[in-house]
């Protein structure tokens, strides 16, 4: 069997994975990047709006404290505050660094990086390139890896001496030595041959779980691999009940249902209307945001040119609010013909301005839906977009509870609390990708000896099983049923009976998945690959459903029809998922989240905190204010 020895193995080659690998290599570690797709194709390319970083290029009042506050508000104060702090402080450096590696962001008049408005951000904050920022980010990081390889070729005569990409290679198990990580096991898609990595540190950067839902903006890779690998290695997942349904996915034609329509459309002036032509978002401004959003169309429209003297349009509320509002309008019978609402930029901006600012959207609607967004409105509706939950990690190093395991980006949990602000994902993966790479490098340095892998034979047998069965279940059918179940029963609006029903279906699907058979050879066989991915999707879906059933409140990306209010008691609690030793079932436990550091909590007014915190926590706040 093919074997490789590395210091750090990074699983995933999106923004977080590449930034982690670059860091590990820059710290002198022999680093492998293992990814399911070709190098440069990861889901990060889909990010459109931008990377949030308080550089203050457009509005000099912006700084890390404002960004920190916005992030905590967006996450309804459930965020890991240390992560939110590090993120807000370090994002500008991470963006500037990209520029030094060749990224070409759009510019301000004085030649700096331009920043755009986005939902939940108080000031224009998103560094961007039109509406293809994710592509710029992935390409820049990809080219940085190549630059390091060119350096290594000069120094060592081998471009892959210190950093190598294993593309179209899927990891199915993490390997351990006792309690600690010792490596990883996987297969090459191209040949079906197996591969073993011996490595004391593994960084998970596998992204999200959207492929457990029918309507999703996520690509085929988003099968929760890292979430499941972490669970099976003994790590814990937090916040799995919080899933972001992006308010504006395409709803027609059916084949592209769920594909994203960037929030920049609204940031740049686009408005949401129902079938009666009403700009309905004014009807959905929640109590906690009342003083921050315009209450009339006139004020909202003035804001685009005069942000100092007007409040923001309600179309720019955090994503969870907008998604629920659209859902409510459609349910009330005021939706568009294909079951969405109208998003209109055509009457708001001149055609050439739309094409300049939103080129990908213009192209996407023209090619896929035959709609010219400079002439008519788009039809949009919520789509499963992002999971806030993920591996529980140490904020500073990205370390999970299993020694040698690290996680960064969407696969990690905590940073975004119960709801992520648009633009905070690209900055998250840069900030914490770098930190996880550095954390892994430091961990490797701290070891007295290298671990030895165990469990290769079991991993091999597990991977081969679907090919050795004949006449079993069709993995495509099991997958489709899971997607329908999650979409219908653990979707944007949830209730106890439906979640319970979903859990019963998941149990049955787990049995069927064990019996999946894949015909054909081991060479590039998607039926086989899907049969293996099913294990991960089912484990993750069980986490989502179980945590969703347990959390009896509504907050951010978790809305319970039977518990519509936010609860201060629940805010303090994190739900922690772990797998049984044999990896066949999930248990969820409550855990109290530590109180915010006093210098951070003092960044907020008491009146705002009263909406979120318990009396006990408010007393702590009062004491902190008094002491300062």
């Amino acid at each position: 069997m093919e074997r490789h020895e590395y210091d750090v193995v990074v699983i995933g080659a999106g923004g977080a994975g590449l930034r982690a690998a670059i860091e590990a290599r820059q710290q002198g570690k022999r680093t492998a990047i293992v990814c399911k797709s070709l190098f440069g194709k990861a889901h990060t390319v889909m990010a459109e709006g931008g990377a949030a970083a308080a550089m203050g290029n457009v509005n000099p009042n912006d700084n890390w404290m404002v960004h920190f506050r916005d992030t905590m508000r967006g996450g309804k104060f459930l965020n890991n505050w240390r992560m939110a702090e590090l993120h807000a402080k370090e994002a500008p450096d991470r963006v500037w660094e990209l520029e030094a590696w060749g990224a070409l962001f759009d510019r301000t008049k004085d030649g700096k990086i331009s920043q755009r408005n986005f939902g939940g951000h108080e000031y224009p904050r998103l560094a961007h390139v039109g509406d293809r920022t994710g592509l710029e980010l992935i390409r820049t990081l990809q080219q940085r890896v190549v630059a390091l390889q060119q350096e290594d070729e000069k120094l060592h005569g081998d471009p892959e001496a210190y950093i190598k990409v294993f593309a179209e290679c899927t990891i199915t198990r993490l390997l351990k030595d006792g309690d600690a990580i010792a490596g990883a096991f996987g297969y090459w898609r191209e040949t079906g041959d197996f591969i073993v990595f011996d490595a004391p540190a593994v960084v998970l950067a596998t992204g999200g779980i959207g492929k457990s839902y029918v309507v999703t903006s996520n690509s085929w890779e988003y099968t929760g691999d890292g979430h499941a690998l972490a669970l099976l290695a003994g790590a814990k997942l937090i916040n799995m009940e919080f899933i972001q349904f992006h308010p504006t996915g395409m709803v027609w034609p059916p084949s592209v249902r769920g594909i994203l329509v960037t929030e920049s459309v609204r940031g740049d002036g686009g408005v949401l209307r129902n079938s009666e032509g009403r700009r309905f978002m004014f009807d959905y401004i929640p109590e906690v945001f009342k003083d921050k959003y315009a209450t009339t169309e006139e004020e909202a429209d003035r804001w685009y040119t005069d942000q100092a003297n007007n409040r923001r349009p309600p179309e720019l509320l955090p994503r969870d609010e907008v998604a629920r509002a659209i859902n409510a309008e459609v349910k009330a019978g005021r939706g568009s013909p294909q079951g969405g609402v109208y998003l209109d930029v055509s009457t708001r901006l001149p055609a050439e301005e739309i094409i300049k600012r939103l080129p990908s959207m213009h192209h996407q609607f023209k090619e896929l839906a035959d709609v010219d967004i400079t002439k008519e409105p788009m039809q949009v509706g919520p789509t499963c977009h992002y999971i806030m939950g993920g591996v529980e990690v140490d904020a500073d190093t990205g370390a999970a509870s299993v020694p040698g395991l690290f996680a960064a980006g969407e696969v990690s949990g905590g940073m975004h609390g119960s709801n992520r602000l648009g633009g905070n994902s690209l900055s998250d993966l840069l900030v914490f990708g770098r930190r996880a790479g550095a954390g892994a490098a430091a961990y490797v340095d701290s070891l007295a000896k290298r671990p030895t892998v165990t469990g290769v034979e079991e991993a091999r047998a597990e991977a081969l099983a679907p090919l050795e069965r004949t006449g079993g279940e069709n993995p495509y059918e099991v997958h489709h049923e899971l997607q329908r179940t999650m979409n219908d029963l653990v979707g944007i609006i949830r209730k106890a009976e439906e979640i319970t029903e979903a859990l019963q279906v998941i149990e049955k699907l787990k049995e069927r998945a064990k019996n999946c058979a894949s015909s054909g050879s081991r060479i590039y066989n998607p039926g086989w690959h899907l049969a293996l991915d099913l294990r991960n999707m089912l484990l993750v879906s069980e986490c989502v459903a179980k945590a969703a059933l347990m959390r009896e409140e509504s907050r951010g990306g978790h809305t319970r029809d039977d518990f519509p209010g936010m609860s201060a008691e629940w805010r303090r609690k994190l739900l922690v998922c772990s797998a049984s030793p044999d990896g066949t079932s999930i248990t969820v436990e409550e855990k109290i989240q530590p109180s915010m550091r006093s210098d951070l909590i003092r960044l907020f007014e008491r009146a705002e905190l009263e909406k979120y915190l318990t009396e006990e926590e408010l007393a702590e706040y009062d004491a902190a204010v008094k002491e300062s």
């Binding site: 797709s37 070709l38 440069g40 194709k41 990861a42 889901h43 390319v45 889909m46 450096d93 500037w96 660094e97 520029e99 030094a100 060749g102 070409l104 759009d106 510019r107 004085d110 030649g111 700096k112 390139v129 039109g130 293809r132 592509l135 390409r139 080219q143 190549v146 630059a147 390889q149 060119q150 471009p159 191209e190 690509s219 085929w220 890779e221 034609p253 084949s255 592209v256 594909i259 994203l260 990908s360 192209h363 996407q364 090619e367 896929l368 839906a369 069709n474 495509y476 059918e477 489709h480 894949s518 015909s519 054909g520 050879s521 060479i523 590039y524 066989n525 998607p526 039926g527 086989w528």
Partner: protein, 250 residues
């Protein structure tokens, strides 16, 4: 609304294969990649195809549809008549791994041969100042989603395996142009474009531009300007004289 379409899909591995006929359901609004996925789910579970975003942003699902390089996810079924047989084959310029999946490692090799962005050593992160108008030229080229269809269609290598070692292909010649037009790049690009990366092989037939799903004007905006820059360097008598007098290497 739905109908049964006739598909001929190239199937095979290890250098052998043939076109296989399928009859498959097609629904309103679908694209070719949807139909390939339906074949996987219902008739050919091991049919190999690359894809990721399904929104024309990642450049994974490049294939030849009725002989033309296209992204499967951006080719709408409504562009064909219902009785037309749709033939889907892998990219021709690269070796087939299986079915519609080809070995595109050639492109990654070429990417590594182009020296990376080289800013002046004294400019620190955060200090870059560039005007929008000055970055726009390179930004156009950075729209590239690396679908490699321009590489696939370029006749310099499509039918001439022997040219591959000496020719970077339109995608990477455009990368050189992108760097050469970057306001802060200080590396030598012009001579190496010609000498090391085969810019001279290009005879501007614009096949690359025609297939580009991002509508990048590869020939007009990258390759021709780059050729002009090379010519300026090589044959401009003043530059030539200057390089003799001042011993400038560039």
């Amino acid at each position: 609304m739905g109908y049964k379409a006739k598909f001929r899909v190239w199937r095979g591995e290890g250098g052998e294969g043939k076109l296989e006929d399928f009859t498959v359901e097609v629904n309103e609004g679908e694209v070719v990649l949807d139909v390939i996925h339906r074949l996987q789910a219902t008739q050919a579970p091991d049919l190999a195809v690359r894809w990721n975003c399904k929104a024309g942003k990642c450049g994974s699902c490049s294939m030849e549809i009725n002989g033309k390089p296209r992204l499967g996810c951006m080719t709408r079924m409504s562009t064909f008549s219902e009785d037309e047989t749709i033939t889907v084959t892998p990219l021709r310029t690269f070796p087939v791994i299986k079915d519609l999946v080809t070995d595109v490692s050639f492109n990654y090799q070429k990417a590594r041969e182009i020296p990376s962005f080289t800013p002046p050593a004294d400019v620190k992160p955060g200090e870059f100042r560039m005007q929008q108008v000055d970055v726009e030229r390179s930004q156009e080229f950075r729209k590239c989603i690396e679908c490699f269809m321009c590489q696939n269609v370029c006749h310099v290598i499509r039918d001439h395996e022997e040219n591959k070692p000496n020719f970077a292909g339109p995608r990477y010649l455009m990368r050189i142009a992108e760097l050469d037009m970057h306001p802060y790049d200080v590396a030598e690009r012009k001579e190496s474009a010609q000498e090391a990366h085969g810019l001279g092989y290009c005879n501007i037939t614009k096949c690359c531009t025609e297939v580009c799903p991002e509508h990048i004007k590869i020939t007009d905006n990258a390759l021709i300007p780059m050729k002009e820059r090379v010519v300026d360097r090589k044959y401009d008598p003043l530059v030539w004289l200057g390089s003799k007098i001042f011993k400038r290497q560039r």
